[in-house]
Amino acid sequence: MLTVDQLSVHYGPVKAVKKVSLDVQPGEIVAVLGANGAGKSSILNACLGLAPRSAGSITLAGARIDRLATEAIVRLGLTLVPEGRRVFSGLTVMQNLSLGGSVIGKDREAAQRSLEWILTLFPRLAERRSQLAGTLSGGEQQMLAIGRALMSKPRLLLLDEPSLGLAPNIVDLIFDLIIGLRKEGFTFLLVEQNAELALDTCDRAYLIMNGAVAAQGTPDLFRQSDLVGLAHFAASG
């Protein structure tokens, strides 16, 4: 579904991503693991045209998307829940969700259906619907960020550090939701620092070290060879 081929990302002279190739098949949950600063977020951002791609190609369902504007990519069914949630804090929960549904356009019934679906997925958001997003707790903001992205019914959702800074019970809730949505046909590519959590959830994983793919395979492979420990060792050493 998504194919990243030989992707490089430069920020000025700094090479953040070096010739990374990865792919995501329909219905999969794929995890990108690695230490802080390894270049994981840059890969996701480049997929949405938010990080400067210097080489390589990105293909969604057979069509090149690496020269498209961010909003055009979103309209093709690929979206990103950014690191740190980044909800619109001065807008209400409902206003955030309604902006998430911008892709639906003028079809009010479809927008209403999407909204009701999100509010049943996250009853907490329904309770807080007219509250400003900035006044929500971290967990509620993450629910809102995911709900807002789901409003457009994306085929493939990229999640950047969904567990970061959240209480364990909220993390469980969010990962249960991801597993549930996958059963409904959604596909996920997620970046996680919490490797154990990601390996419990995903079908396949990539390990990124210093901007390049260091290893890839099934969760079992990662556990057997202690590749994750290696990644953390590389980052701290």
């Binding site: 949405l48 504007a69 979103v74 619109f88 902006l99 998430g100 807002r148 457009s152």
Partner: protein, 297 residues
């Protein structure tokens, strides 16, 4: 009683001038909050409204039609300005954008001088606006009253737009986080064009009110008011829309009240005193009255 009446009249003038500054400052703030651009060509949009009005009237158009033409011309020019001048430098530094806006401003000045006239062109003002009326024994001018009403209506319309319209919400979202707004599938160009259209509209409305006071339009018409609007926007906190309105009202009220109550010997220092007061406020509120804190560098 006379002192009370005088104060009431000055209060109306203060609201009228403050409202006009508020509309202008709001126009600057709408664009700044989204693009980080201080558009110094904003004042030229006022001038364009004036010329649009004068030339429409010259064709024999009815007054209301000419007003609509003047306003529409300013909105159109604001959108064209963004498309032609600012879009190519959108990814450049804020300094580049600022210099571009100075360039647009001086190109328009020169064009007005060379292709229209360096001299002021009289703007016919409807007769009823010259008059005054009496409320509770206090005589109040028609123009300041109209300014207040128009300001209130324009602000109310804007609040409604930003609360209830999808484009209005998208603009508020873009002012918080442009990248994430695009992640909603919202077209960046459309949001920016809308912000320029709104800022053009606000400049045009303020321009009409300014013209009614002055009675003529010349190439430099917009220079002083846009400078004042910039001060007002900084006072309110650059990028804050509520702040721009508040800053405009405070600046207008300060100017009017100083003019009304300063002893004659000090009248010449009116602007200096007004600016000193504002600097004092900015020392107390370094981010402006309603600005978001800027992180230390």
């Amino acid at each position: 009683m006379i002192a009370v009446e005088y104060f009431a009249q000055q209060a109306v003038n203060a609201l009228a001038l403050g409202g006009t500054y508020a509309l202008l400052a709001l126009g600057l703030a709408v664009v700044f909050s989204i693009l980080g651009l201080i558009n110094f060509a904003h004042g030229e949009l006022m001038t364009i409204t004036g010329y649009g009005l004068v030339f429409s009237l010259a064709t024999g158009m009815p007054y209301v039609g000419a007003l609509i033409c003047g306003v529409a011309l300013a909105v159109f020019c604001a959108v064209v300005m963004e498309r032609v001048a600012f879009r190519p430098v959108r990814r450049a530094s804020t300094t580049t954008m600022l210099l571009t806006s100075f360039a647009v401003s001086s190109i328009l000045h020169t064009a007005f001088q060379n292709f229209i006239s360096a001299r002021p062109k009289p703007v016919p003002v409807p007769e009823w606006l010259g008059g005054a009326f009496t409320i509770a024994g206090i005589q109040i001018g028609a123009i300041p009253s109209l300014s207040i009403i128009v300001t209130v209506v324009a602000l109310a319309a804007l609040v409604w737009f930003f609360q209830s319209w999808h484009t209005g919400l998208a603009m508020r979202a873009a002012s918080e986080d442009f990248a994430v707004t695009r992640l909603m599938g919202i077209n960046a160009n459309r949001v920016i064009a809308a912000s320029f259209a709104i800022s053009g509209f606000l400049a045009a409305v303020a321009g009409v009110l300014w013209l009614f006071q002055r009675g003529s339009v010349d190439p430099m018409l917009g220079f002083v008011p846009v400078l004042k609007a910039f001060i007002a926007a900084v006072l309110g906190g650059l990028g804050s829309l509520q702040g721009a309105v508040l800053g405009g009202l405070i600046l207008g009220a300060t100017e009017v009240m100083l003019r009304a109550y300063l002893p004659e010997a000090l009248l010449g220092f009116r602007d200096a005193i007004a600016l000193a007061l504002i600097i004092g406020l900015l020392i107390l509120f370094p981010n402006g009255l309603m600005g978001r804190p800027i992180q230390a560098r």
